[in-house]
Every structure is written in C-alpha cells, then in structure tokens.
C-alpha cells in the first residue's frame, strides 16, 4: 500500500495490556495546570527503564473539571496495579502537590481503585480534613498558598501499551518533521499518548542484548551507521528512522491514534512506514497497519 508515495508495510504492531490511570490536574491558570501535569508526567518514557509510561492526553476546559478551573489530563501506564499505585503516589505527592494552586482528581472510573489521597493526607501532619460528596472523598491538605485538594482514590483500568510505528526517511530532517506531525496527530486523539520526548523516539529497541544484564538494546537494523554491518531494514536511499510509541485507554483508541499518525506522516521525504513486532509472541493485540487504515476510511 502506498499513501502519497510512502510505502506502508503489510505488517503489524504488537501491543500488550497495561494498567492505566487518568489524572485531572487543575490549577488557577492553564499554564500552572500544564506545568504541574508536565512535571508529574516526568521521566516516564519507557516501561523497560522507567517502570511506567506517561504523557498528557490534553487540556480540559474549566467547565469540565471538578473544581471549575482549567486543567490537563495525564495518563499513566504501568505493568501491574501495584507498580502503578506506587507511581501515582510518588508523582502526585512529589510533582502535583508542590505545584502552585494545584488540585488532583481521578479521571477514570474503574472497579479497581488505588488509595492515593488517602495516603498523601499524612503529609498534613494531622491538619488534614476531608469532604465526602456523592460517594467521592476529597482530602484537603493545608499548604502555604491555601489547600491541596486530592481525591481519596484513583481508578486503575486496563489499557493498551506498545502500539508503535517506525518512519523511515530519506534524510533526518524529513523523517523528523514527519515524526513530529505524527506525534501531534496522536496528541489530538483523546485517550492516547506518545510517551517519548515530544512523542518521538530516536532509539528503537529490541528485547535482550549480547550482554547478560541488559534487558533491551539498540535495534541495529534501523541504525543507518550499522547498515554495512547488519542485515539492515534501511534501503540505500534511507538516512534516518524514528519510532512512535502509542499507549491508549483502549485498543480502539490506539488503532485510531496509529491511523491518524500514519496519515499525518505520509509526506515528502518519508520513504516507508513500518511497525515493530515480535512475531506475535509479546502481546495479544496485533495492530495491522493496512487494516487500521481501512478502518479509518482510507
């Protein structure tokens, strides 16, 4: 299949289940809310090295937040509910709580809940108080600019991680431009994130390594400087490749985000779009590129 002369490989991305939480972070201004959410997203790039993956789903208008202030939605993914709870506690406690005028609310209804505000309350050293409204408990922690309001519990849902695309370009600037356009398309898909810096990954990895204690290593077949030494995936006219990793609240959302990303990336200078998989052994979700484009009406 070709779109605007870009070859779309007949292959699939292999995705897998991940646990996910959705945080609504509000503050007095959109800038402060963004700042708090961005810091809370922090270094959560890859599950392999960070223990979680996170990113900003998008802005949420004051009319839709629990306290009527501007907010941002943060998605946080991890491989187990215990690990996710640990990250929620750390990131809300260390990044959102100290951010000026901030408050933090649960944005995901789920059967399994993690008690986060209920633990963070001890920071208030006995001066904490709570409010119970419509079955939801809010903790009020006195801080130096007023009170930090945080929900007692946050939903732990089943999401999907590991959706991916690899863009191969004739030169670095064209490939990067296309990758950034694709990352922007992912950002506009509600419920999906691209956790790498700016949504773009320059270091696609493969599992394992020649070294014993290294869990993941550079994917040599996409490295232009190694084309003479390995069985490369790059054609003679390709000079750079970028990967986009996509996590979402559901498989459908990941498929939609991937389709949007492919369509945004098909531009001059891009030679080929492919995806990473492990022969179907890693995860139950096989996201075939041609099929998701058909679903998107292409």
């Amino acid at each position: 299949m070709r779109i605007h002369n870009v070859l779309i490989d007949n292959t699939f991305a292999e995705a897998f289940p991940m646990w996910v939480s959705r945080l609504i972070i509000t503050a007095d201004t959109p800038r402060l809310a963004f700042q708090a959410a961005q810091v809370a997203a922090g270094m959560a790039i890859s599950i392999i090295g960070c223990g979680c993956e996170s990113g900003l789903e998008g802005e949420i208008p004051p009319g839709e937040t629990p306290d009527g202030r501007p907010g941002h939605i943060l998605l946080l993914f991890s491989y187990s509910p215990e690990k996710l709870e640990e990250h929620l506690f750390q990131r809300i406690g260390q990044a959102v709580l100290p951010s000026a005028t901030s408050a933090c609310f649960n944005g995901l209804k789920a059967e399994k809940m993690a008690r986060v505000g209920g633990k963070l309350r001890y920071f208030a050293d006995g001066f904490q108080s709570s409010k119970l409204l419509d079955g939801i408990r809010y903790w009020r922690l006195p801080v130096a600019d007023g009170e930090f309001v945080v929900e007692e519990s946050f939903g732990l849902g089943q999401g999907v991680g590991g959706g991916n695309l690899i863009l191969i370009g004739s030169n670095r600037s064209s490939a990067l431009e296309a990758a950034e356009a694709a990352a922007e398309a992912i950002r506009t898909t509600h419920g999906a994130i691209a956790p790498f810096p700016g949504g773009v990954c320059r270091s696609p990895s493969k599992p394992g390594s020649k070294y014993k204690n290294v869990r993941a290593s550079t994917n040599a077949v996409f490295c232009p400087t190694l084309r003479s030494r390995v069985e490369t995936q790059l054609s003679a006219d390709a000079e750079a490749a970028y990967e986009l990793v996509i996590d979402g609240l559901t498989e459908t959302i990941v498929r939609q985000a991937m389709a949007a990303a492919i369509l945004a990336a098909c531009r001059p200078g891009v030679l080929r779009i492919t995806a990473g998989n492990y022969g179907g052994t890693l995860g139950p979700y096989h996201l075939y590129l041609h099929k998701i484009l058909q679903e998107a009406g292409f």
Binding site: D67, T101, K131, L132, L133, D134, R140, G146
Partner: protein
C-alpha cells in the same frame, strides 16, 4: 408504575404514614394498599378510609402523596429505596432516619426534616422548619449522611450535631445553625441566624451572609477554597442555581468553635461587621 394516594382534607390529627415505603407500596395491588393500617392519633385506620388510591402503569416507579398532605407525619421514615413525591406541604419528621432513595416535597416541610438521616436525597421546593438534619431527641449525632436540598428558608438549629452529609438552603437559616456540628457540609445561600456554629467541633458551614460571628471563631483566610468550588459545581448540576454567583468569588474563612476542638469552619461571602 406509580401509586398516587389523594388524602382528603379535614384530618385534625397527624396521620402517621411511616409504613408507606415507596418500594413496597408500588408493588401492591389497589386492594392491598387500601387495607394498609395508618395511625391517626392513637387509633389505627385503614388507608382506604383516609385517601383515594390511584395506580398508573406510566412513568417511573414512585409513590405520590397529594391532597391534604400537611397533616402527614413521618413520610419516608427509614425509607430504603424508591421515590416518594409529596405534592404539597409535608408534615413533621419527613425522611426521619431515611437510608436511601429520594423524597421530593413540592411545598414546604415541617419540623425535623431528615432527622438522623443516613443516606438518600430530599428535595424541598419551599421552606423547612426547625431541626432540619439534626439528631433524634437525646442523641448527640445529627444527620449521618445523605443530601437535603431546600429551595426556601430553614428554621432554627439546622444541621445541629450533623455528622456527615450535605445540606443546601437557598434562602436564610435560623438561629444556631450547625450548633454542635461534628462534620459534614452546610451551604446557606442567604444569611445565618445568631449563634450559628455554637460548639461546632468539625465540619463546614458556608453562607452568603453573616452579621454576628460568635467569639469562639478566629479568622483563618484567605479562603480560595477549591473544595467549595467542587460543591458549588455539584449543586449547580443538582439544580441549585442561586449559588452559581459565588463561583470564583473571594470569601472570609473562620475556624472554631475554640470552646470545642476549633476544627470547624465558617466560610462567609459577605461579612457584615
């Protein structure tokens, strides 16, 4: 399936209707409903002798009390489920010890509305009498949970001893509002009567106007209270529009009563000193 009980006028004594549980009555036949015993004074009277029974298969499941409803006491008492509509004024002790479900009063309600209430929702379009959301006689704890939304004014000792839940009053509240309050939240869009917050231990009393603060309360502001905004938004969605003008407004905050634990709070938008 709805059941309508049209009470005839002329009852000089209060009619105790605590046995009319909406989820039970709506499942009975007309004949079974007419045979239900009701207490009028010290006598037991067949329901069919006091009101006309109408059943309708249309609309959602509810029990409607209409006609001379002001003499009905203990409507929705210990109610556990269903919807009860009082299409007029409600008598005393409506929703006492209510556990769940919804009561709607189209007129005003008498004293002791939602006394020792544990859960559910009560909406009153008009005024409510004294001791709304307070505790049973002799008990320290008042309302234990649930929500009371009132479109008019409230009498004295609103939410006295309140332990949990939410009370919203669109108008003014009388003397000793939130006296002995243990926890929970009371919102009064209008003004508070004298002695409000007396012996308050915890909990929140938010009001539009206060002109006589007890000496046991200390300034503890500024009060940019995000939690108040959460409640205002929730109440706005529940149809309590009059509080929308508080959104984003600065307020005065006081904590007390220092004669007790001093952990209660009064938040006032217009403080008249």
């Amino acid at each position: 399936m709805s059941v309508t009980l049209a009470f005839e006028s002329g009852n000089s004594l209060a009619v105790d209707v605590r046995s009319l549980q909406p989820d039970v009555v709506t499942g009975l036949s007309k004949g079974e409903i007419e045979k239900l015993p009701l207490a009028v004074g010290r006598q037991s009277v067949r329901l069919g002798d006091l009101c006309k029974v109408k059943r309708s298969s249309r609309g959602r499941e509810k029990l409607i009390l209409e006609g001379d409803t002001a003499c009905l006491s203990r409507a929705g008492s210990r109610m556990q489920a269903g919807n009860l509509v009082i299409a007029g004024d409600a008598g005393e002790l409506t929703g006492v010890e209510m556990q769940n479900g919804e009561i709607e009063v189209c007129g005003s309600a008498g004293d002791c509305l939602g006394l020792a209430m544990q859960g559910g929702l009560i909406r009153v379009k008009g005024n409510v009498g004294n001791w709304c959301g307070a505790g049973l006689p002799g008990q320290i704890k008042g309302m234990l949970g649930g929500t009371i939304l009132v479109g008019g004014d409230a009498g004295r000792e609103l939410g006295a001893g309140m332990r949990r839940g939410l009370i919203y009053i669109a108008g003014d509240a009388g003397e000793y509002t939130a006296a002995h309050m243990l926890s929970g939240s009371i919102f009064v869009a209008g003004g508070l009567g004298t002695g409000s917050g007396l012996d308050m231990r915890r909990g929140s009393l938010v009001a539009g106007r206060l002109d006589n603060l007890l000496p046991g309360f200390r300034p503890a502001g500024p009060a940019d209270n995000e939690w108040v905004q959460i409640y205002l938004r929730w109440m706005e969605n529940a149809g309590c529009a009059p509080l929308a003008h508080w959104m984003g407004r600065a307020s005065h905050r006081f904590t007390g009563d220092v004669l007790e634990s001093g952990k209660g709070e009064i938040i006032v938008y217009d403080l008249i000193e």
